[in-house]
């Protein structure tokens, strides 16, 4: 299908035509921050944004999610599965790093003998409209983790912001069928395509943070016990902002929440974080990761060592949220630098 053009003024039209069929999620301003919310009015859509505070991950994997509901009838328990998983979702205006995170999440939740049906069903029913990132932030490093500010592959429909208009490309079949519904979109001209490519190039060049993660993975694998971890974890206060805002963090806790007075309840999962001491604390009191050093290490190892070894990709999309969110500025770039320093130093030793 040929590329189309969407006028910025027509977003309202787009919304009103799609909102009936889809639960329409879009970036919108909540308490001064951009968040992906189910909107009820096209005016709420805020496409001129750097990136959302909480990643759109929470549309498909919300902080609090019902796994199933139950009812007690005497000694019997009746389990009710969720019925809303078949709803069609539209996630509009997602940045590419976050779009890529959906792929990572999908791979993770689909891996192994047990598939996370809840996430996967939602993912299956979700159409993602990505938007190219014309001006990445200093803290962004998507290209280092296999992404790109204009990486279209992980979206269904891809938009590039050309100023007054968006260039609209259908990437997947889902995307194509969606665009068919928007027959009023005009065709794109060649110049639009060129401009989009130009913007992509500019964006890529604007990315200053670059890492050699192959090397990072290698160093990590070899240096689990290295004293650098002490240094890395020193200033960490264990606040877990990094994991709560991370688009690829998936850890969760399972809790039964009861409606005491009506004989019913729901089993829910809520985000958990490996930065919390309680995360691994066993009932016996034993804790495999009792200290900050182990917890900090686990996060880094998980993303850059365990992920590659288990799923053959990095567990990071380079959105830079953990970098900006860290209140003590113990940010990923510094950590990676310190890790790579190990290699440099040992390299020096070898050459010396």
């Amino acid at each position: 299908m040929a590329e189309k053009i969407l006028k910025k003024d027509d977003i309202g039209r787009l919304y009103s035509e799609l909102e009936k069929e889809y639960k329409f999620y879009a970036p919108t301003k909540v308490k001064g921050n951009i968040a992906f919310k189910k909107i009820s009015n096209a005016e709420e859509i805020e496409l001129e944004y750097l990136n959302s505070k909480v990643p759109p991950k929470d549309v498909l994997f919300p902080q609090k999610e019902t796994i199933f509901e139950y009812r007690y009838e005497g000694k019997d328990v009746i389990i009710e599965e969720r019925k809303d998983l078949e709803d069609k979702l539209l996630i509009f205006g997602v940045r590419l790093c976050d779009a890529y995170s959906f792929k990572l999440l999908e791979d993770f939740f689909a891996s192994g003998d047990f598939q996370d049906d809840i996430f996967l069903k939602k993912r299956e029913n979700a159409t993602i409209i990505g938007i190219g990132c014309n001006s990445p932030r200093q803290s962004c490093f998507c290209t280092s983790v296999g992404g790109h500010p204009f990486q279209k592959e992980s979206t269904d429909v891809f938009l590039s912001d050309l100023g007054d208009t968006y260039l609209v490309e259908a990437i997947s079949e889902k995307g194509e069928s969606l665009l068919k519904k928007l027959s009023w979109l005009t065709d794109a001209k060649k110049a639009d395509l060129t401009k989009s490519k130009e913007l992509a190039k500019q964006a890529e060049e604007a990315l200053t943070t670059k890492f050699d993660f192959d090397l990072v993975t290698k160093v990590l694998d070899e240096n689990f016990e290295h004293p650098v971890w002490q240094e890395i974890s020193e200033s960490c206060i264990g606040c877990s902002s990094c994991t709560f805002l991370c688009p690829t963090c998936t850890c969760f806790d399972v809790i039964d929440e009861n409606d005491e007075y009506n004989n019913r309840g729901r089993r829910i999962r809520i985000w958990d974080t490996c930065q919390s001491c309680l995360y691994t604390l066993e009932t016996s009191g034993h804790n495999p990761r009792p200290a900050k050093i182990q917890r900090c290490r686990n996060r880094i190892m998980h993303k850059f060592s365990y992920y590659p070894s288990n799923y053959d990709c990095l567990g990071c999309v380079g959105c830079g949220r953990c970098i900006t969110a860290c209140p003590v500025n113990n940010e990923l770039r510094l950590i990676i630098d310190k890790i790579l320093e190990i290699e440099e130093k040992s390299g020096e030793k070898v050459s010396a």
Binding site: E73, D259, R264
Partner: protein, 151 residues
């Protein structure tokens, strides 16, 4: 939740009556409530009494949990200052309650749902009067729904 509960909420056609949990010090107010009973002093049937050793035992958790759990009001009653069976438990508690009450007010949670009082073992009448008063205050505030969860 594993427990089947037979009762449901009060039938709707009756006038709404608040349910108030009352934590009473074993040594004074609980005995005062007993005395109200022995003296057949009548007061509204809205309070449910929980015996505690001393008002000093009342952690803020108990009070706030009572609210989040849907009790419409909370009464905490202890010994008059100076009369604490445990020397000073009520005085320490008084500070705790003062802060809690102010904070609730600050958060915009109806502070009137929480009523602290002193009543000695001899003050059956006073106990009844204060319970009446607290019940009225809570009744005026209406059902406690701020902490209801969506189901």
């Amino acid at each position: 939740m594993t427990e089947p509960i037979v009762e449901t909420k009060q039938s709707e056609n009756k006038e709404w009556e608040p349910k108030i949990i009352a934590f009473l010090c074993n040594w004074c107010s609980y005995a005062g409530a007993d005395l109200a009973g022995v003296s057949r002093i009548q007061y509204p049937s809205n309070i449910r009494i929980v015996r505690v050793p001393c008002s000093g035992r009342i952690n803020a958790y108990f009070i706030i949990k009572s609210l989040t759990d849907g009790w419409d009001g909370v009464i905490v009653s202890g010994c008059h200052p100076g009369d604490c069976h445990y020397i000073s438990g009520n005085l320490v508690a008084r500070r705790r309650f003062a802060i809690l009450k102010e904070l609730l007010e600050f958060f915009g949670i109806e502070a009137g749902r929480i009523n602290f009082m002193w009543a000695s073992a001899a003050e059956g009448e006073r106990f009844a009067v204060l319970v009446r008063k607290a019940t009225e205050i809570v009744k005026k505030l209406g059902p406690n729904t701020k902490f209801d969860k969506k189901w």
